[in-house]
């Protein structure tokens, strides 16, 4: 059984094809979904919201994309238990859409950061971290200006208490609270992260750490589908 993934494309998305290549490389069947679509293709196992500068980052990063017609369908998909992955601008969009908590503010150093980011894998028990061991060191590139994760003390305590910090920076590049690089939703089926696993998914680009995220994801969602879970 093949995993079916949809990649949402906004004006200004620029990692949409990269994430499609990474998903296809892991064996998924990928459909691109334009932001004006009010419905998602039938039978999707995953929706991916790619990186980029949707709508020019106007107002707040991800704010306008989060109100695009397709996002109502994505929110319904997620509320119905669908898997959603948001990378970089996609993480900002998922927060603005209310699918993940907190906010992503301007980097504490005020500079755009573009570098390989050493990470530590946090949360287990999610299809996104299925291929990793807890506390495993991996490296994905970061490239963002607004990745400084901020949340109130209660939200941070919940994220930690419920083991929802999926990835943590080993060298914090942006001032994120608790070194948070990626968080899971309450049902663990929505992941948003600032680093780009799809940019570490081809040996020609020097790293394979990100490829395992997609391989594990495809493997876990298709085997769960087979079990009817």
């Amino acid at each position: 059984m093949t995993m079916r993934a949809g990649v949402v494309v906004f004006p200004g998305s620029n990692c949409d094809r990269d994430i499609a290549v990474a998903l296809r490389g892991a064996g998924a069947d990928v459909a691109m979904v334009w932001h004006k679509e009010a419905e998602l293709p039938a039978g999707l196992d995953l929706v991916a919201i790619p990186g980029g500068f949707s709508f020019g980052d106007y107002l707040r990063c991800g704010a306008i994309a989060a109100r695009a017609p397709v996002m109502r369908a994505v929110v319904d998909f997620a509320r119905g238990g669908g898997h959603v992955l948001g990378v970089c601008n996609g993480f900002q969009v998922l927060i603005e859409a209310g699918l993940l908590p907190g906010a992503l503010m301007r980097n504490a150093g005020l500079k755009f950061v573009c570098a390989p980011a050493p990470l530590s894998v946090g949360a287990e028990d999610s299809v996104f971290t299925a291929a990793y061991r807890r506390s495993e060191a991996v490296t994905f590139p970061v490239a963002h200006h607004d990745g400084n994760f901020v949340a109130d003390a209660g939200t941070l305590a919940r994220l930690e208490g419920e083991d929802r910090v999926a990835f943590r920076y080993r060298a914090n590049p942006n001032g994120s609270m608790h070194d948070i690089a990626g968080v899971l939703s309450e049902n663990r089926r929505v992941l948003g992260l600032m680093p780009h696993p799809e940019r570490a998914a081809d040996p020609a680009l020097g790293a394979g750490d990100g490829a395992r995220l997609f391989a594990g994801l495809v493997d876990a969602t298709t085997s769960r589908a087979l079990q009817g879970a």
Partner: protein, 79 residues
């Protein structure tokens, strides 16, 4: 009717841009600047019958899009 929306960061939310501006002011010789907070002003030209209707529209717009109430406060001023 014209509405002016002021969006500001909530107290307690770190404002790195405001901090950078504060440093720049200090290096220009402006002493005694305690804190600088950055925000946004959004001017709306609304098709509303009266000030009350304009305020209600602008308020709904703030909640739906213009402000992120996790980190921002907003105030609506009707001109």
């Amino acid at each position: 009717m014209k509405a002016r929306v002021h969006v500001t960061l909530k107290r307690g939310v770190l404002d790195p841009q405001g901090e950078a501006v504060r440093h720049a002011l200090g290096s220009l010789g402006f002493a005694g600047v305690g804190e600088v907070r950055m925000g946004k002003v959004i001017e709306l030209d609304l098709d509303a019958a009266d000030a009350e209707a304009a305020r209600a529209q602008a308020d709904a717009m703030c909640r739906a899009l213009l402000a992120n109430t996790v980190i921002e406060n907003y105030e609506v001023e009707i001109a």
